[in-house]
Each structure stands twice: as structure tokens, then as C-alpha cells.
Amino acid sequence: MLNSSKSLRVVFDKEHNAYENMGIDEALLYLSPQPTLRLYFWNPPAVSIGYFQSMREEVDVEKARKMGVDLVRRITGGGAVYHKYEITYSFVAPKEMFPGSILSSYRKICYPLVLTLRKLGLNAEIGGVNDVVVNGRKISGSAQTRKKGRILQHGTLLIDVDVDEMFQLLLVPSEKLKDKIVRDVKKRVTSLKHQGVEVDREELAKIMAESFSEFFEMEIEESRLTNEEMELAEKLRVDKYERDEWNFRR
């Protein structure tokens, strides 16, 4: 049953484009009746920017269009992310499940990612506010928003990463320093592949779901999106996420 508080609703989702993905996450935030985990992918690749960022300052918009990369603004803060070789999670829950500070809720929701990586044999821990690191290098970043008594946190886990490809799209504050910035990012970022882990992405989704289930002590209840959720997601795609008024508003 969808309203049992002891179960974790898990939606093993597929690939969607950026506008569908952001529409579904927002629809779940408003409509999902219980703690919900969605695991999903991006096709075509996309850059998402944080709520407070400026699209034109973060992304080479013309290059992205030429490369067939979608551009979307998230409802969550945080930085610009190139979504290609990754699995993405979104987690929705009532605020009461996290009575402490916002910071502690970030860490709790990130912790199942740490467990996932440890199951894969990696030396993972929480890094900074909203990251997960392996051997000190970032492999996952997350962002959270809160609306109407509920929390949405979504984030990535890098399966592979191509920093040079990423910086064909992402702008840096100083062109002069670009080479140095790219070198620094290469040192600071890693992926499953770079850590020697080859795992089927559906298998990875399963391990992530199990890790959330264990950490929050809730039974997995596999589920699909409801018709109501799909309808709202579709409306959000058309009326919000595909529109320049939203994506280029700052």
C-alpha cells in the first residue's frame, strides 16, 4: 500500500530528457504520499543549473545546442551539473522525518550513497555539505529543496566522467585560468569507472535502493509513477521546464 509509513516507495525509472526528469521530481515532491526514491537516467545528455545560477554565465548555450545537450534550471540550489555518465536519484519525504538541521538532513540522505559505494568496495564518505567523496575525490553531489512540509533531494552518482567534455559546455569565471581550473577539477573529481568499478546501471540502481532501505529501516515497495504524478510532470515539462522564461530567468 502506498500510504504505509514503514515502506520506502521505489521507482526504478528509465531514461528521460531533462525537462521530463525535472518535471517528475517536482511532481513527486508535491504528490507522492510517502517516502519515495526514484532512480533515473538522462537522454539526451543535459546540463542542469542551480536555482540561483545564471544560465548564460554557467553554460556555453550555443555549444550545448550544437552538441544536442538539453539545458534546464533545477528547483534546487547548488551548481551546474553535466548529466551524461551517471545514475541520478531523487528522494522525497515529509519534513518530520528529518527533525534536525538542514545540513544534517543532507548528510542523512547522502549516507545511503556512501553505503552503496562501500558495497562496491570503495572508500567512501560524506565530503563538504552535499557531496560524497571516494579517497577524497568527489563522486556525487546533491541538492535539496523544501516545499509545503516536504523535502526533495536529488543528486548524481558518477559512473564515468569526462572533464574535458564537461568544460566544452561549462563556462569558467576566467578564460585565462581555464586550463588550471580543468586540471584542478580532474584532480578533485572521480567516477566508478575511474575507481575501477564496472557495474551494470540497473544493478547499481538496485544496490542504491537497498542502501536507502537499510539506512532508513524501511521495506522497499516497488512502484510506478501514478497517473496523477505523470500528468503533473507533463504539465510542469510543458509549462515550466521547457520554457526559456524558467531556464533563463536569472
Binding site: F52, S54, T76, G78, V129, R250
Partner: protein, 98 residues
């Protein structure tokens, strides 16, 4: 500094210890702020507080703008950034615009 018809634009990027970045763009006309945006990869809850604050800053001088920042953000939850970061970054951008 970039001045056209008495309006000048200033920009300042503040790197915050811990890794977040605040990028302020401000336009100033006769000492009054006519446009401001606080871009960045920070987190403020509720998010709308930042936009309401930006709107209220229009037409104000620097000191008034700092009071508005204080008013909106002292009651907001923030992650990776502080009220001081907003005020100081605005001041730097403002100085570059004058």
C-alpha cells in the same frame, strides 16, 4: 566598471571557504541600485527569499540594501553561505560600479 548614460555596472565574484561561489551583478545610477542579482551555487531556504530581497533592493542605496539583505536572510536557512557574504560581495560589486 562599465558606464553608459550614467548607469554603471559592477560585478564581483566571492569564493566562500567551503567551496561555494557568489556572483553579484549590480547596476548603479546616481548612487541608487537599479538592478541586482545574487547568482551562485549556494543554498537558501526558502529560495524565494533571495528574489524578494533582490526586488526590494531596487532604488535603494548601499546601506539600505545591506539592511534589506539582513532583514530577508537573517530568518532564512542557509547552507554554505552567510549574510555577511551577501553584504560584502554586494559592497565590492557596488564599489566597482561607481
Amino acid at each position: 566598471m562599465n558606464a553608459t548614460n550614467g548607469i554603471s555596472e559592477g560585478r564581483h565574484i566571492r569564493k566562500i571557504p567551503g567551496g561555494k561561489m557568489l556572483k553579484v551583478v549590480v547596476r548603479v545610477e546616481n548612487g541608487k541600485i537599479t538592478y541586482v542579482r545574487f547568482h551562485g551555487d549556494y543554498f537558501v531556504y526558502p529560495e524565494e527569499a533571495v528574489e524578494d530581497m533582490e526586488r526590494e533592493i531596487y532604488g535603494k542605496n548601499l546601506e539600505e540594501a545591506k539592511e534589506i539583505i539582513e532583514k530577508y536572510l537573517s530568518s532564512a536557512d542557509m547552507v554554505g553561505i552567510s549574510v555577511k557574504d551577501f553584504c560584502e560581495a554586494l559592497e565590492e560589486a557596488y564599489k566597482k560600479a561607481r
